[in-house]
Symmetry: C2
Subunit: 266 residues, 2 copies
């Protein structure tokens, strides 16, 4: 560690160590509030430039906050002693677009030609929402955020294409308006919502059955509000079918040393 | 006029002159886009301080942009040669809280102790919405904006109290999100909406029957979005029952020389 880490940096370091030692294997939502969390995509170098372009063309669902050097499993710009092979609670391994396994580390899968991408995550604005008295339901209910595949197409790039994945948080309209204002400040964490109200409008048939994460309760008078989600690339990876690709498991993110506020606008 | 008025100031001056001469008697929505329009309340001085406090306590529905000197019917801080007795297309006259007449000028009603208040108006952000491709339906359909009384109580001050009046503009959710972002920049024009979706939630029973202004069409997939409205004081005036009070007629505003952008934040 640095000689005198801040309390927050000590917490992010300690959490990554707990994840590395497999003491923490669960979702990271609500942990070390104020520290930016990231979605992870790891690809061989010969797929990396197309994926980089895919992120550039889809900045709302794929807001890049870090790209590793080829073969380097550290991400020094995102935090002290990050090891991309160990510091995510759960990894998904895709081969030829099929998810073949989930695992707690990828040490024996790491290749010298691999590039790690880290994308901002809506968890970054959950802290700001909570501070405004708009604690997301998934935090209140201590579950993973609800994630759904939509019919909103992303912009294709090379072999990568597919529909947008969204997170959902329910609010009464008055609070949804405030949540739109707050999340607008966080473009690197997907920014403002894409949609609210009718799930059918964006191709979601049942809010009780999220494709990823957990269902949350929706109370009388609340409307579902939908933000773009960093799981979107996993749909594009299933379509692109790279020989190998490794991602985080939805809701189980890389915890960085970057402050959410460092990447907030205004 | 100033020696070399800008084209916009020439337009606002010309429109006020057309109103003064009674050539223009209709709504002002969409006219001289870029120039701030204002709601008007004129009260005797012994009621003015309570009304000033009412505005201070309810800045979203009553965003003050100008207050005249006692007995002065000019408003030099809001525009060249404004005459509050003539420059509004239609006035409402309230006596003891009852609306007793509407008229095209109030020259013979003006008293030496009168104070004129001008409040920002949502028309100010309609220009910004239109520039963003979100032209309000009332402008598209060339009618007055729909206004409704709600069950949202204002904060009382002295003898002034009552519920909030709102304007309604329909948008699909994606556009409503953008409209929330855009209108947030205009706190002196009521800022972000108070509500969207279910009209019943805020005490509105029939969107086809606005209390003021005109009904507009709502298309499939659109939700009604509700902003606070400067007609709110007219409800408080009916409750407070001052011996005399003069207001603008809803939708027929004072056109000022202030730029909407001058009072925008960010």
């Amino acid at each position: 560690m640095n000689p005198t880490p801040s309390p927050l940096l000590q917490q992010t370091y300690d959490l990554r160590q707990a994840i590395r030692s497999k003491a923490h294997t669960g979702p990271t939502s609500g942990l070390v509030q104020g520290a930016m969390q990231g979605n992870v995509v790891i690809l061989p170098a010969d797929w990396a430039s197309e994926f980089l372009l895919y992120c550039q063309k889809n900045p709302v669902s794929c807001p890049l906050i870090g790209v590793s050097e080829v073969g380097d499993f550290n991400m020094p710009e995102l935090g002290h002693d990050i090891d991309m092979r160990h510091d995510i609670p759960e990894y998904y391994v895709y081969r030829n677009g099929e998810k073949v396994e989930s695992r707690a580390d990828i040490e024996d899968l790491w290749q010298d030609d691999m590039v790690a991408f880290v994308l901002g995550c809506s968890f970054s604005f959950e802290h700001a929402l909570s501070q405004a008295g708009l604690t997301p339901r998934n935090i209140e209910e201590d579950v993973n955020v609800s994630m759904f595949e939509t019919n909103i197409a992303t912009v294709p790039a090379g072999r990568f294409f597919g529909n947008t994945v969204v997170t959902m948080r329910p609010y009464v309209p008055k609070d949804a308006i405030r949540a739109i204002q707050i999340t607008t400040r966080f473009p690197k964490a997907h920014g403002a919502p894409l949609h609210f109200g009718s799930p059918q409008d964006i191709g979601i048939t049942d809010l009780g059955k999220p494709e990823y994460g957990d269902a949350v309760s929706i109370k009388d008078g609340e409307v579902p509000v939908f933000w773009a989600c960093g799981v979107t690339p996993q749909v594009a990876i299933r379509n692109a079918k790279p020989p190998i690709c490794i991602t985080h498991a939805p809701g189980k993110m890389l915890v960085t040393d970057i402050l959410d506020m460092d990447l907030a606008v205004l």
